[in-house]
Symmetry: C2
Subunit: 299 residues, 2 copies
């Protein structure tokens, strides 16, 4: 029945010419139950309200060390550097991101399929999950750029064909994230409202939007209303901690002039019951290393 409705009516329209609009979320935030574990009822309740949760020690210091070494190794590997899934900064020739890193590296494949990770995603999404996107990020200090406010779901819906809000991101910190080195900022509670964005999606929008948001950027009026209503939470944590946040959280990060870089492993899980279809507002899906077309369950 839902399937039939969706084909006739997009409940989350976006990239339309008529301007911006706010649409109430049509989907649950938490799909599973406390009895499923590992999260207890109050943690799930917090996630439901704020749209995110934090795990102070998801992985051990030894694991953090091994991830950093693997990231360093990958950054030096000529084959990885030449791969289209690797983003290299023109000016410094440094590796900024490696996409689909769970297929590039055994080390990152293991953590992406680790029960500590997958079972948390499964519980929130109430089903088996698959990896919609994975990457490692290296953000330098001394002037690393900002990332403007956006909802990931808006992009995944418009450009990857993700039907409903039933996906969750996990960011595992490989460095300490303090208030001063450009940590993730989330407007708590913003995940309950969908901001439909203006403008059509240009061809191959992903190539610019991986660096900076173009189409899919919310308007300032909506952001002001959101910030006044919800406030802004600054998500700090030590290396080894993890943040999980709902696909429709309004989030962003400021730049970083400090000497302290930031790096993380970023994993997006989508419910296998919410597998991507054709894009809702783009001529064709983005490449599969940015938005997976293989829906094999993780774990």
């Amino acid at each position: 029945m839902t399937e039939v409705l969706e084909r006739h009516q997009d409940v989350y329209p976006t990239r339309v010419s008529e301007g911006f609009s706010a649409i109430p979320r049509q989907d649950p935030v938490v799909w599973g139950n406390a009895t499923d574990g590992p999260f207890d009822a109050s943690t799930l309740d917090g996630f439901d309200r704020r749209g995110y949760l934090m795990e102070p020690d998801l992985v051990t210091p030894a694991e953090v060390q091994s991830f950093r070494e693997e990231l360093e190794r990958l950054s030096q590997d000529p084959a990885v550097r030449a791969d289209e899934r690797t983003v290299i900064e023109k000016e410094t020739q440094e590796v900024r991101s490696i996409f689909e890193v769970h297929t590039v590296s055994d080390v990152f494949a293991r953590i992406a399929n680790d029960p500590r990770v997958v079972n948390r995603a499964r519980q929130i999404l109430g089903s088996d999950v698959y990896i919609h996107q994975s990457r490692v990020n290296f953000k330098p200090g001394f002037g690393g750029g900002d990332f403007y406010w956006h909802s990931d779901f808006e992009t995944w819906h418009a450009e990857d064909g993700m039907p409903r809000m039933r996906a969750v991101s996990m960011s595992i910190s490989l460095t300490d994230n303090d208030t001063f080195n450009g940590p993730l900022m989330i407007m708590p509670g913003s995940h309950r409202t969908y901001v439909s964005c203006e403008g059509e999606t240009p061809e191959d929008n992903y190539q610019s939007s991986l660096v900076m948001q173009g189409a899919g950027t919310p308007d300032e009026e909506s952001l002001e209303k959101f910030a006044d209503a919800h406030g802004i939470d600054v998500l700090t944590g030590d290396a080894g901690s993890a943040i999980m946040f709902d696909c429709n959280c309004m989030h962003g990060s400021n730049g970083n002039i400090t000497p302290f870089p930031r790096s993380n492993v970023f994993l997006v899980f989508n419910s296998v019951e919410n597998a991507c279809t054709e894009p809702f507002a783009a001529p064709k899906p983005r490449p599969s290393f940015v938005g997976a077309r293989d829906f094999t369950p993780a774990g």
Copy 2:
């Protein structure tokens, strides 16, 4: 004797071609005594160690309101907008800063000479003080830029001819400064070391350096050492609060993608016993609205 020595030997050389170097501070940080008031001994001790202090409620909410209204009025005044002392952003045509604001506006002249302000500067500097620089700043949200690490004294010494470290800045917040909207960051304790910078001062360096630091920018190696040794303090506070910081603090601020702008009144006091001479590393002094040549005591 000091006078004679200074003419023969610059104790704080900078903008030299031989590269960067760290020179221990040759001057006291606190020149006055606790018995002078208004600061008690422990507050002065904290300033001595960290290089800054915070006053949660220096001015009243009604004063903040009147300052904001005056800033708004000045921003609309065609004569002020046309004045060379006013910095206008090209893209948006909005006023970003008004220099020498204590001569432009009666409202700001009063606060710059107010005993709450001047007596604090007098006590730290242990003498009468004059206004070396004053300005109001308006920093927008939604992507307001960063300000890279620097020591003010390096510039004032090189380009304004300030002989020794005996000046203090006061920033009075007209908006709430949170961790997320680009607050002032200081490396506590950095004021005890002078970082000599590389390169000659270009003609009219001030025109670009008011917006972004060029000559007078510390090297990344020094900044890394400083950050590791001292850490970074993020100075947040409500509207009406004030920060006082030593002239040689290493400080900067990140950009601001949040919708919340920041504005402040910025006052630099120098000891009348430390009046500016010829620049130590520039062909001629900067204009007097940036570095005063009138040493009449404030208050």
